[in-house]
Symmetry: C2
Subunit: 437 residues, 2 copies
């Protein structure tokens, strides 16, 4: 028993008080922003019946699902009947199928919750991590797409991540572009996968991959020439004007740009070759990047074929996802070394006779809106003040027999080391002033 490994399971993390505090503050900011945009919270169980999840994430994804063993007499079968949530989209689809008519339509929901994937753990890659999704179900209007982008921008701005750029494209425009280059329809998704890697492998790399995938040489040459053009957007707009899918896609992009308007904290623009790898997108798609960060901090798009999976019909849906673990990491780096105060003031407990007095004093200070920690152990004053320091508590209240008799209290400022004697009746006021309130 004594030799047991006390680490959390591989790929999971314990969150100590400072971590939880920072994360909760970020979640509060996000929740508050989503609500101010009319998105409602939804929550679903950590696990689903196995058949709800299997077959939804491709063969590779299925391998990464944590399955739960049957119980009781069935445990010995070695079979699973439940599985941990792998994302927040399949549970949304199940909820829409189950409660459809009870939900307001369009249904605008956000969901901030952990998901679990049996990936190989690595730097920044966990087996338990949070997702933060917002989606609008039941609307095919571009107002919904634009509203997603505006809400995501507002959240990022409120989190202090201003200076981001939203890159917008449309799957329809991409289809028109593929057609304009003369790439046959059956190679469309191959071509999108290659284009999606432009940032990583450059125009030459994309050309090589397209050729390998069987795209004709002159199509590849046109495309590479465009990618090298100083006015890429102008070149692409010209090509898209030449076919119906292209015109429709471009109109979609321009309408979303118009609707989104000027974003708080960032900008939005047309990104002519942004593809977003996932095959399920059907309309506008977007990614949010930040020049200082070199990572995608949010992304999303329209996916009309997914939410209706349990109903056997298309249900229009559009949404986005914050890269919340990356964002939390950025906020953590920004706050490095800062200890958030565990309380405003520590009431020390000096002698046995004074303990009830200390509890009563702490209670009175709480009614004045102060966060009051009471030293709960035994120990000399020095030990108690070290504890306060450790927890980032800025002020300590000390009250021995003499002070009790005199109706006074000693207040120690742990930053400056200064100590003042204050009349009991003026204590709360003194502490609030010292805290700058």
């Amino acid at each position: 028993m004594a030799s047991i490994d006390a680490n959390p399971a591989s790929g999971t993390r314990d969150f100590l008080p400072d971590d939880v505090g920072r994360r909760e503050r970020a979640f509060d900011t996000i929740r508050s922003a989503f609500r101010s945009h009319g998105f409602d919270p939804l929550d679903t169980p950590a696990f689903e019946r196995l058949e709800v999840l299997t077959g939804k994430y491709g063969e590779e994804g299925d391998q990464l699902i944590f399955k739960i063993l049957r119980r009781g007499e069935h445990e010995a079968s070695g079979e699973a009947d439940l599985a941990l949530r792998y994302d927040l989209t399949v549970p949304l689809a199940r909820v829409v199928a189950r409660y459809g008519s009870q939900l307001p339509m369009p249904f605008k929901r956000y969901h901030i919750a952990p998901v679990w994937r049996a990936d190989r753990p690595g730097k920044g890659r966990y087996r338990e991590f949070f997702q933060c999704d917002l989606d609008t179900v039941g609307s095919d209007s571009l107002v919904a797409d634009a509203s997603t982008i505006v809400a995501v921008a507002d959240v990022l701005d409120r989190l202090g991540l201003s200076g981001f750029r939203v890159q917008l494209n449309s799957r329809r425009a991409l289809a028109g572009l593929i057609e304009a280059y003369g790439i046959p329809g059956e190679l469309e998704s191959d071509a999108l996968v290659a284009l999606d890697k432009l940032d990583k492998i450059g125009a030459e790399g994309v050309a090589r991959e397209l050729t390998e995938r069987g795209v004709a040489t002159d199509a590849v040459e046109h495309l590479v020439a465009d990618l090298g053009d100083d006015d890429l957007e102008g070149r692409v707009r010209e090509r898209l004007a030449g076919n119906e899918a292209g015109r429709a896609g471009l109109a979609e992009v321009d309408e979303v740009l118009t609707l989104a308007g000027k974003l708080p904290g960032g900008s939005v623009g047309y990104a002519p070759v942004l593809a977003r790898g996932l095959s399920y997108y059907t309309g506008p798609v977007f990614e949010v990047v930040h020049d200082d960060l070199a990572v995608t901090i949010a992304a999303g798009g329209r996916y009309d074929g997914l939410v209706g999976m349990f109903q056997g019909q298309d249900v229009p849906a559009t949404g986005g996802s914050l890269g919340i673990e990356r964002i939390l990491l950025l906020l953590e780096q920004a706050a490095a070394g800062q200890v958030s105060a565990g309380a405003d003031v520590l009431v020390t407990t000096m002698d046995d006779d004074g303990r009830a007095d200390a509890l009563a004093l702490a209670g009175r200070l709480r009614t004045e809106g102060l966060r009051v920690d009471l030293y709960a152990g035994r120990g000399k004053l020095g030990k108690q003040l070290k504890y306060a320091d450790r927890r980032g508590i800025p002020l300590a209240v000390i009250r021995g027999a003499d002070e009790r008799a005199a109706g006074t209290v000693a207040v120690k400022d742990l930053g400056s080391g200064e100590q003042a004697t204050v009349d009991e009746t003026a204590l709360a006021e003194h502490l609030l002033r010292a805290l700058g309130r």
Copy 2:
């Protein structure tokens, strides 16, 4: 695919927006109260390595642990290597063993999180449910025990559950009582189990059970006589004065009563035969009851032998647990029929030309601190107003081509049905006034 069961897994629940909103508000209140008492938040992973959990909850508990199947090539073995968290105490013990010297001591933490148990689902009994614990680790001082009770009382009071009674006892006092009746030490835990049922089976039932468990007839008769005494507390205090364990236990109870003092929202008193079934308690124990509710809404005590389980040594600890699911149910019943507003105002989207204007208007209103939903679908005004009504949104903003040309906005009060035309520049002010802010 279309025929799949869209219900959540047996014993689990989906939380739709109103549910989540109510629960989040309660959690916010609890978190804020705990923090004001100097308790810090802790969070741990949903699953632990299997060996961390097995053997900690007795044979019956072990049967109820959800085990996670090994993955990849090991899946076929049918073996489990991980398991879902069964409570919040074993993870606390693991954290104390893992991070001991990094934690401030005494370590005061709260933890609000779901746990999972493969119990047979029933009315009010779920397989996924929240626990809400607060504990102080590393202090053998009764200040910690009293502080737990004060913090729990403050939380209940802030949740609007005033009028509760905290019933306090001590395991030492109980041991003294058992000794005073002449019940042999080896029957002590049997006797406590029987006493713990007093509320349910009455004095005669306790007597019958004690006799069955082998307690001598005259001991049972003394005990039953005491239980029927008008001054039960006085009788018990007399008996406890007769042996050392009794005197020490009584002193412990009286000291906690003195330290806790006058509680916000409720009372605390000595409950001479309160036993709390669980065998791990070692000092003061308490239960919080409410006459209107006939259920225990919180409970706790000192358990010096548990938190050190991974270190192979005793670590003093005391804490409490809110019956959070029961409390949430009470709050839900109190709020029955109330729809919490999904936003302060709905901006309707009337014609294609007005959509960008509507998004911009919504954005401006948000900067004034309003929660603004924008209708994201397509539909006539009547449908949009019905949507607002459904979501409990009290006000709607309507702006067609005429209003845009005139620089005005129509505001509809969905409660009274009244409609007013407001100058655009005065809109936010008008809405805030209509909302009573």
